[in-house]
């Protein structure tokens, strides 16, 4: 028998059990009364039970400190929350801060109360982020992958039910996942919708709102927000719902951007008709209408999910933010079409008098007797959803991301030892190698690119020396590029801009930098930052801050001139990160086009070596070359 140590003990025991009992296949035996398993247990078995219990307690101890009791300034009532970043950022429910206000007190298991301030909120998904202060490093828990949650999994809800804890220590309630991909309709106008949420039988009571739902590995897989309280007052009835961690991860950049996040919509209404999901209402100004979707068209797939009923679409789309890029496949006049579109925004609250035509709300799935929520009384200011509320806080967030990125890409101890990186790259189009180039990139942002002779026999040199950008073409004409000139090689121009961002305290000096919020590139959740390059042109950066396991890992994944996915964006994606001399260096750059990110050209790094010396003349202009400004 395999070692008990290979799994968390409780899990091992549990897993063995099913197999041992012969499960369903032992049909004849199943008819009979179960034989007594045992009336006594051995010392070994008892130790396994104790080990299982110890493992669970260890997990609880690990995450205990990250659970917050959330109170308003007056400390009347309260909810729960969980810290997900050591700087004190915590998740809670929108309906908790809606009751508590924009600031208040957060109680931790250490028994102390810390001040918190509201950062961002998502009324549509009932999530808010608050920031605690008063400690250099807060204990935090990482967000898990809620797509891996299965019905029957053990889960622990933690929080402050009935505001029981005078000493601020959280309450733990153990249960199992009762259902996944549940949909619970919202309240008010497009608010508090729980799409694709997790249903649990862990006790969820008033005060648990906003608290974390942990798996047995101590990862946050959801935020507990509501229950089916229908007949017996608002106490546990064995049916609680948690907003999935994956939805939350998608929205976090929007919230850290200090926005009132908006949810996405196609601005078209679909219903189940004649064996398909048919569009029967559409706003002609919506993006999807401009891309050719019309009334009567059949929806085939949305965001990679085959749509065979309208509820499935509603359930999934309610977890996506406005502006999120999705693929929509539909049948128009018998022809199958696939388009990429950024979702339109669902409005909240009362439409303003001078507002543009408002997108229609998503159709609610026909839920028959499902309990509707009582209308919510909104106390917080929601008038300007989708815009940055606090520019200062937003800028600080940009600084945090860039600083973390610099530490990965050009910082730390490695920067002391090496001055530059030298790349050898193959240029590939349509699967064929069409050339190669050498790039020397200094960690301070300067670079020199040399492209080998192409078919016409000309060789190109392009250099950014920190002040001036110049090129030397095959005809040996030296050209100094001016800000008005779009650089010859986009990735070179962008490289210069990135170099500037790597400088210390770059953000402090920049007038134009903003965390725009959530976006997706290369199928990853990213933080999108808008800034300017050295020539005053708009530049967008896409950062991913976590790896697949939810551990902090900063990656710059995309750089582009705009967010529309036009060919003129000169967008390039960065991937295949590998470590070179302690730095994380992308080994594949792709020039891409469209929201679908179709590859136009690939730059594959064949060799990357660190340079500890960097002679100045690498970037110096050749004196004998003809100088020609343009």
């Amino acid at each position: 028998m395999r070692s008990i140590n290979t799994l968390p003990p409780l899990i091992t025991l549990a897993a063995c059990c099913v197999v041992c009992l012969g499960f369903i296949s032992a049909a004849p035996a199943a008819e009979k009364t179960a034989e007594p398993i045992a009336e006594t247990i051995t010392a070994e078995e008892l130790s396994k039970v104790k080990a299982a219990e110890a493992a669970r307690i260890a997990t609880i101890n690990k995450v205990y400190g990250s659970v917050v009791a959330v109170y308003g300034n007056k400390r009347q009532g309260g909810g729960s929350g969980v810290i997900f970043d050591e700087e004190g950022y915590a998740l809670t429910n929108f309906h908790v801060v809606n009751g508590a206000g924009v600031e208040g007190w957060g109680g931790l298991a250490d028994g102390k109360l810390y001040r918190w301030k509201l950062v961002g909120m998502d009324p549509g998904g009932d999530i808010a982020i608050i920031k605690l202060t008063g400690k250099d490093k807060f204990p935090y828990s990482k967000l898990g992958d809620s797509d891996k949650v299965r019905v029957g999994d053990w889960v622990m809800a933690m929080g402050n039910p009935f505001t029981l804890a005078e000493d601020q220590k959280p309450t733990v309630t153990l249960g199992v996942v009762s259902g996944i991909k549940r949909y619970q309709p919202g309240a008010g106008k497009n608010m508090l919708v729980y799409g694709n949420c997790i249903q649990v039988d862990s006790s969820i009571n008033p005060g648990n709102s906003g608290g974390p739902l942990f798996n047995l590995r101590g990862e946050v897989v959801g935020i507990n927000g509501r229950g089916s309280f229908k007949e017996r007052g608002r106490v546990n009835v064995g049916v609680g719902y948690a907003i999935s961690s994956n939805q939350i991860k998608t929205f976090i950049p929007d919230l850290l951007a200090t926005k009132v996040a908006q949810h996405g919509t196609l601005d078209a209404v679909f219903s189940d008709r004649s064996g398909g999901v048919i569009c029967h209402q559409i706003n002609l100004d919506s993006k999807i209408a401009l891309l050719g979707l019309d009334i009567g068209d059949r929806l085939i797939a949305f965001d990679g999910i085959e749509i065979d009923n309208a509820n499935l679409l509603t359930n999934h789309i309610s977890t996506l933010p406005a502006g999120w890029p999705v693929q929509v496949v539909f049948e128009h006049n018998g022809r199958r079409r696939s388009v990429w579109v950024r979702l339109d925004a669902l409005p909240y609250g009362q439409p303003k008098a001078n507002a543009k035509p408002q997108p229609k709300p998503q159709p609610k799935p026909k839920e028959g007797g499902k309990p509707k929520q009582a209308p919510i009384k909104i106390k917080l200011q929601l008038k300007t959803p989708g815009v940055v509320r606090d520019a200062k806080m937003n800028k600080r967030e940009c600084g945090r991301i860039l600083k973390a990125w610099a530490a990965f890409a050009a910082g730390g101890k490695a920067a002391e030892k090496i001055k530059a990186l030298r790349f050898e790259e193959d240029i590939i189009e349509d699967g064929k190698k069409i050339g190669s180039q050498t790039v020397v990139r200094a960690l301070d942002g300067r670079f020199r690119l040399e492209r080998a002779a192409d078919k016409s026999g000309s060789k190109t040199v392009a250099v950014w020396d920190g002040k001036v950008y110049w090129t030397l073409d095959g005809d040996a004409k030296l050209k100094e590029r001016k800000p008005t000139n779009v650089p010859l090689e986009e990735h070179v121009g962008q490289g210069a801009a990135l170099g500037r961002l790597l400088a210390k305290n770059a953000v402090d000096d920049m007038a134009q930098i903003e965390l725009e919020g959530s976006d997706r590139t290369q199928n990853r959740r990213t933080y999108r930052i808008r800034t300017e390059d050295n020539f005053g042109n708009l530049l967008y950066l896409w950062f991913s801050l976590y790896d697949d396991e939810g551990n902090p890992q900063v990656r710059l994944l995309k750089v582009s001139r705009s967010t529309d996915g036009l060919a003129s964006d000169r967008a390039q994606t960065l991937s295949d990160y590998r470590e070179v001399a302690g730095l994380q260096v992308p080994h594949l750059r792709r020039h891409v086009s469209g929201l679908v990110e179709r590859t136009v050209t690939r730059y594959v790094v064949t060799k990357c070596e660190p340079l500890s010396e960097l002679p100045d003349d690498v970037f110096r202009r050749p004196k004998n070359a003809d100088k020609k400004d343009n």
């Binding site: 028998m1 899990i11 025991l13 199943a30 009364t33 009336e39 199992v176 991909k181 039988d201």
Partner: protein, 353 residues
């Protein structure tokens, strides 16, 4: 009367024993378990197989609703030719009963038989159901065993969506009518008490399965204490279900079969105030369902099955129309309290009068 089955079983501390039972099983884990990937997420979930098994064998049932009494429930497929066990509630009293199979397909069901004692009904749909539970002839659970309830409580799931799962252990096997007069219990047989929260709308008729996927019982009705508003979670044990299906269940004589004849709750209303006077109880017939449910003189009848009772005349009309053998929910006001009673009208046998 005390239960006879529990005494010879494991001693107290049922919960601890449940854990131990699991452990003991684990000790004998066969070799194939070793093949399972230790890192795999799959192995975290001890209940997954039993749940998946049950999900294929449970159905959603939609029928009539009366007032605030919901018209939906759960059912358990018990044969390959469309037999479905469910509870006996108002959802069966309408003109049509719809059954939604796990694949989302919808079928019309007819009631084949009922057991007022167990508050169970056997439905049939005209379609083959290759996935079904074999109802075990003997009990498959003991006090302290883990069980999962697979139900459609609160109608959370629709169409092909999966039913809800609640985890618990078997707390006790006992008779509920031992507490007659204190609780509203229309159920007369032995019941499995569980600590999974199943006493919710729509859960009735759901499957209670063991960790190895056997049908331990069928989730029962909502039973609520009049004095504390707390609820009892129980299931009809599978061995009683087996007897019912085999036609061997002996129905207590006191409870009438559903025959459509005249019914009697045993409430006599105060008539001196006239027909438009509020419906106060004047007298409760001893030994009647109303007496067992704890009705008292001077209770004011507020609602019957959720419908507001305006006066004596209406109350009389509504009481006369109640079908025999089917649970009725009555709200009464007693002094400053509003009390809820669930009871089953008895049929008035013609030869008795």
């Amino acid at each position: 009367m005390r239960t006879k089955k529990t005494t010879s079983w494991l001693p107290a501390l049922a919960w601890l024993l449940a854990v131990l039972a699991v452990t003991v099983s684990a000790a004998g884990a066969p070799a194939q378990e070793a093949a399972a990937d230790a890192e795999s997420h799959e192995s975290d979930n001890v209940f997954a197989k039993a749940i998946a098994h049950a999900q294929k064998r449970c159905v959603k049932i939609y029928g009539a609703r009366i007032g605030r009494v919901e018209g939906f429930a759960t059912g358990v497929i018990v044969s390959d030719d469309g037999l479905i066990l469910t509870g006996q509630g108002v959802f069966l009293s309408g003109t049509s009963i719809d059954v939604v199979l796990p694949d989302g397909s919808r079928h019309v069901a007819v009631v084949e038989r009922r057991s007022p004692a167990l508050q169970v009904a056997l439905l049939r749909i005209r379609v083959q159901t290759p996935n079904f539970f074999k109802v075990p002839e003997k009990s498959v659970v003991r006090k302290g065993d883990w069980v999962v309830a697979v139900t459609n409580l609160f109608q959370v799931a629709e169409g092909a969506e999966e039913l809800s799962v609640n985890l618990g252990i078997v707390s006790l096997r006992t008779r509920l009518d031992a507490k007659r007069g204190t609780q509203d219990v229309p159920y007369r047989g032995e019941a499995l008490l569980v600590d999974a929260i199943t006493s919710n709308p729509g859960a009735e008729g759901g499957a209670l399965v063991t960790i190895d996927g056997k049908l331990a019982g069928m989730v029962g009705k909502i039973i609520e204490s009049k004095s504390t508003n707390t609820r009892l979670n129980y299931a009809v044990p599978s061995d009683l279900l087996y007897k019912f299906m085999a036609g061997k269940l002996i129905e207590p004589a006191a409870i009438a079969t559903a025959g459509g004849g005249k019914t009697e709750l045993g409430i006599r209303l105060f008539k001196l105030g006239g027909k438009r006077a509020p419906a106060y109880v004047d007298r409760v017939v001893p030994g009647s369902p109303a007496a067992e449910a704890g009705f008292k003189k001077d209770d004011l009848v507020l609602t019957i099955n959720g419908e507001v009772v305006k006066n004596v005349r209406e109350c009389k009309k509504m009481l006369d129309k109640l079908p025999a053998g089917e649970e009725v929910v009555i709200l009464v006001k007693r002094k400053n309290e509003i009390l809820r009673a669930a009871l089953v009208p008895a049929e008035v046998k013609s030869d008795e009068k």
